[in-house]
Each structure stands twice: as C-alpha cells, then as structure tokens.
C-alpha cells in the first residue's frame, strides 16, 4: 500500500505531511510527559523487529499464497498508540530511504495511511475498546482475553486497512493523477484489502496470543483492571486529538476542493489541470482552463479539453508541438550522453582510485 511520489500532487502531499506531523508532534509530547527513558530502546528494538517481521512469509492454508503481519496493530498493542505511531514512522522512513518503498514526498501520506489508522484508530477505537469490554464474561478469564485479542486483531487489521486503502484512493484522486473514476477505484481497492486485512489480522492475532500466553505484561490494556479509571481521562484527550487531526486533514483537503483551485494547486506556475475539476465534480468551463495557459501543457490541455467529440484536432500547431518536442527530446538525449561523460570525467579527476 506504499504510495509513490508520482501519485500525489504537492498540495495533497503537503496536507498529509501536516496531518501526520501533527499526530507525531502530539505523540512526542505525550511520550515526553511519561519521562520513561526505557521506552526509547524498547521502541527501537521493537520497530526493528517489526520491520524484519513484515518480511516473513506466512502460508495461508488451503491456498498457494502467503500473507504478512500488520505492523501498526502489533506495535500499538505492544508499545501503546503514541510510541507505536512513532515507531511506525521510523519503519516507513527506513523503507522509503533504503528500500525505495514509497517516496520521500509521499512519506506523510504513507504514515497517515498505514501508521495513523493502525495505531490510533486501531488502538483507541478497536484494541482498547474490545480488550476492556465485558465480552465473554461467562468464560474463564484467560480464554476470554484470548478471544478478545483475536477479535481485536482481526477487526483492527481489517478496519485500519480499509481506511488506509480508502485514503490511497482519495489522495490519488484528489491529486488528479488517475483517470479511473473514483467509484471504480474504490471498488477495485477495498475488496482486495478486505482479504489482505483478514489474513494480516489472523497472523497478527497469532503473534499477540503467543505473547499473551508467555508474557501477558507486555501487552497494553491486558491485565490493567485498576488502570481503567486513570485511562478515562485519556479517552477525552483521544477524542480531542482525533478531532484536531480530522480538522487538519478535512480542512486541508476541502481547501483543495474549494472553488478557487488556482490558488491551491501548484500555485507557482498556475497551470490548471483538468483532473482536479473532473474529480471534484466541478464545471470545467467555470475556471481552470481559462486561467494562465502559459506553458505548453496548458495550451495542449486547452485545445483538447474543449473538444466536444473525440475528433482529432488536426490543427498544425499541435502537430508542430509534437515535432519540436521530438527534436527537443533528441537534444535532451544528447545532453544526457554528454553529462554521463562529463560526470565520469570529474569523478575520475577529483578522486582517483575510488569506486
């Protein structure tokens, strides 16, 4: 579910950075208040473990395929939502830098889609609610907790993955990247992630149940009967945090969709992309295309977007653009060859004996 830079418009990427950054800032403040210096090494080692653990293939019985575990749920169940969230950020950053999973600019969106839902929604709304609930009261305590862990993991993985997948669709569509209609995109993404979520949930629950059987004190919320009162207060904080973040995201995204798209999309150049208008369901002729059509892209767009039918424009200027574009392309290729030569020359000259 890692998004690449190319799938995001800068404005959307920036919004997601702000949203994820806000959540991270709150988490850091929360952890600092704890003043538990031991948390840091535990977070680092657990994050490293989850990073490696996500590469383990688990055979899905009855099929030839394999699944993986869900990092966000596992981390927040072990470390709590705040530490879990920060650990997830670090995992995603390392994946982005060293394994080219997702891009530098898309990191904010990836953190949101994979870490925020998994850690905050997954923890506060699902894990904590279910573990604290009075379900299976008639059963033996241990068996009841085991069942609750399984249900919470599966529900958590499915729901957080659905939210994540939906966000991917939303972010890509808002960025005007794909021509795929919003509805079809959703219909394509959600069912796939339902299946993935179920498998991830099962694997995650297996790991968590194992931890519960061997060292239950490692799991958040489990064995904390008296903590219930103390945590009441943090429920309020949670709601406030969730609300604040929702405002940031909602505000950012609705700004994008507002009636003045020119100011919001890559304002620097003022080229209107019709994708925005289409996806927002706004009327193309009201704005956008008429705005500064300075560069060729906009010119081409203008020519094409006003064509009512699918007839080829046939204008010479369009053909002319093509030919000059090809000539220019050849020049670029020539320059590339030259650059490769010069670069190698510099390198050899400056640092002999390296590489």
């Amino acid at each position: 579910m890692h998004m690449a830079d190319a799938l995001l418009a800068p404005a959307v990427a920036a919004t997601m950075y702000v949203a994820s950054g806000t959540a991270a800032g709150i988490s850091i403040a929360k952890l600092k208040k704890d003043e538990n210096t031991q948390k840091l090494p535990t977070m680092a080692v657990t994050a490293a473990l989850v990073f490696a653990g996500q590469m383990i293939n688990y055979t899905i019985p009855g099929t030839g395929s394999s699944g993986h575990m869900c990092g966000g749920m596992l981390l927040s169940a072990l470390l709590g939502p705040y530490a879990g969230f920060l650990s997830m950020i670090v995992i995603l950053a390392i994946q982005c830098l060293f394994f080219a999973d997702g891009g530098l600019m898309a990191l904010g969106a990836n953190v949101w889609n994979m870490a925020f839902y998994g850690c905050f929604v997954g923890y506060f709304l699902i894990w904590r609610t279910i573990i604290r609930s009075g379900w299976f009261r008639n059963m033996e305590t241990k068996a009841a907790i085991r069942l609750k862990i399984i249900i919470a993991s599966i529900a958590g993985c499915i729901i957080t993955l659905q939210l994540g997948a939906f966000s991917v669709v939303l972010e890509t569509s808002l960025s005007g990247i794909t021509e795929l209609p919003f509805g079809s995109f959703v219909a394509l993404m959600q069912p796939i992630h339902l299946a993935i979520g179920l498998v991830e949930g099962l694997i995650t629950s297996a790991v968590l149940v194992f931890v519960f059987e061997s060292r239950p004190e490692l799991l958040q919320e489990v064995n904390s009967t008296e903590k219930g009162i103390a945590n009441r207060q943090s429920l309020k904080t949670t709601v406030i945090i969730l609300a604040a973040v929702a405002v940031v995201v909602g505000g950012g995204l609705s700004l994008l969709a507002s009636s003045n798209p020119d100011g919001l999309e890559w304002a620097l150049f003022g080229n209107a992309e019709e994708g925005y208008a289409e996806n927002m369901g706004l009327d193309e002729e009201d704005f956008g295309v008429k705005s500064s059509a300075a560069d060729t892209a906009a010119m081409v767009q203008e020519k094409t977007s006003f064509l009512p039918d699918y007839a080829f424009p046939g204008s010479e200027s369009a053909a002319g653009t093509t030919v000059s574009g090809i000539v220019g392309g050849a020049l670029v290729a020539g320059a590339a060859a030259l650059i490769c030569f010069i670069g190698g020359f510099f390198r050899k000259k400056k640092r002999p004996g390296t590489v």
Binding site: D5, L7, V45, T46, A47, T59, G102, T172, R351, V355
Partner: protein, 270 residues
C-alpha cells in the same frame, strides 16, 4: 532467495554505496535534502500531458548517477516494489482518457497514453532522486542533518537506534527462516501452526535485548537526552548548490527547454 535475505543484502549494499567517495557523497546532507525535495516537487508539478517538458528533468538523476559513480541498475532493481502501483494506476488512463492529443506517423496518440507515460516517468524520476539521496548519505550524517533542521530529538534518536537494530533483526529473522526451511522442505512460508510462535519467540527475545540495550545506555550515563556527533560544516559550494539547483529546476519547469530549443532549430531551418 528469500525476501529477508534480499533485504539483508540490500541494507548491506546501501551501506557500501554510502561509504563510497565522490563529489556527491561529500556534499552536505542538508544541501542534498533541499535539492532532492525541490527536485521531487518540481517533477510532480508537471502537467499530466507535459511529457516533453518532463524529459529534461531526467538529466538530473542521470548526472548524479554519473557523478557519484553509483550504478543505475541497483536503483531500478529497488523500484520493483513500489513502481507496480504507479503503473497500475497509470495503466487505466488510456482506457478512460481517449482524447486524441496528436498523431505521430499516422498513429493517433490519445491523452491517456501520454498521461500514463508521464506518470510512470514521474514515478521513476522521484524514486531515483530519493534513492540517490539515501545512497550517497550515511544514516548517521542524515540524522545529524535532521537534528540541525530541528527534527525532534526523540524522532532522530529513534531513527538512529532503529536503523542500527534493523540489520541485527533482519539477520535473526533470516537465521530463523533458514532453520525453519531446513526442517520444512517444500513449504513456501511459515505453517499456520507456527504463525504465533515464530515471530513471538523472537519478539520475547527482543524485549530482553531491549532491556540489555537500555542497561548498556544507562551504564554509560544516559539520562534521556542524546548527544550527537556534530555533522560536518557546510562550505560555500554547499550553500551555492542548495540555492542554485532549485532555481535551475524552477526555470526548467517554467520554460520547456527541450521544446524551446527544438522550435528554435526548426524555425532556423525553415
């Protein structure tokens, strides 16, 4: 080869790349960060049909690959993970956007095709830029740079420590996977009977390791705040590049150089 072993190899490879010596490696990490981000922003800001304008941006990674002496093949190998999603999204464009854009040798090229190729090219270029940053900068100098940029201490320290233990954990998982496979020939992954215990065992051991690590930090006077090795000082060329290259990107974005030159040549010819 297993995914986990490949990851171990890739980590190793990135370390080796970052340890190389070239003008790019010697550049200040903050400078590289600024240039990379401005490059990515510029690339993604291109219009979806603006293929000819985007082409010129391909020169930057080419130049850097060449200057740093890093092989482009490594980068393409890494892209197999994330590029499929970009391609999948792009592949739908030709079906939904059939607006003809221009004809080339009698074949009508639709807007969807152009936007698909543009999207894929954007994906490749952005990944190359990120890869080049990571491949020419060691994690510790990157962390020092992040501290300079006032990224919270907790975050940077967490990144540093996690990175240190990623290779340890990857190695442990790799050993366990091998041990498992040797006793379970023909299985493609971990059987359901071991779903919990396989990672669970390692997790419990890791908790002990975390305790040991914490003890080791405490014994050397750790009081909750990290004292960092100072990153290297930025010199004049570092400042120059940090300002110059983003401006160049902006200019290239504003004026389609390929097309301008092409048009100039054509008009001179006619």
């Amino acid at each position: 080869m297993d995914k986990i072993d490949r990851a171990a190899l890739e980590l190793r490879e990135m370390d080796e790349l970052a340890a190389m010596k070239s003008p790019v490696h010697f550049m200040h990490p903050i400078t590289k960060l600024i240039i990379t981000i401005s490059y990515i922003l510029t690339v993604v800001s291109y219009g979806k049909y603006d293929l000819s304008g985007l082409l010129i941006m391909a020169l930057y990674p080419l130049f850097l690959f060449s200057l740093s002496g890093i092989s482009m093949g490594i980068c393409f190998r890494k892209m197999r993970v994330v590029l499929p999603l970009v391609c999948a999204v792009g592949l739908f464009n030709p079906f939904f956007d059939r607006t003809p854009l221009f004809s080339f040798g009698g074949i009508v090229i639709s807007g969807g095709v152009v936007s698909m190729i543009t999207l894929m090219l954007k994906g490749v270029l952005c990944l190359q830029a990120s890869f080049l940053l990571a491949a020419t900068t060691s994690m510790d100098s990157l962390c020092a740079a992040l501290r300079r940029l006032h990224v919270p201490m907790l975050m940077v320290t967490l990144l540093l420590l996690t990175y240190r233990y990623v290779s340890v954990m990857v190695q442990e998982v790799s050993i366990m996977t091998t041990a498992y496979k040797l006793r379970a020939p023909g299985q493609r992954g971990i059987h359901i009977s071991a779903w919990g215990s396989f990672l669970g065992q390692l997790l419990l051991r890791s908790m002990d390791r975390a305790e040991e690590l914490y003890a080791s930090m405490q014994l050397r006077g750790f009081d909750g705040s990290f004292r960092y090795a100072e990153g290297k000082k930025a010199g004049f060329p570092d400042y120059l590049w940090a300002v110059l290259l983003p401006i160049v990107f902006l200019l290239l974005r504003k004026y389609n150089l390929a097309e301008l030159t092409g048009r100039l040549l054509m008009s001179a010819g006619s």
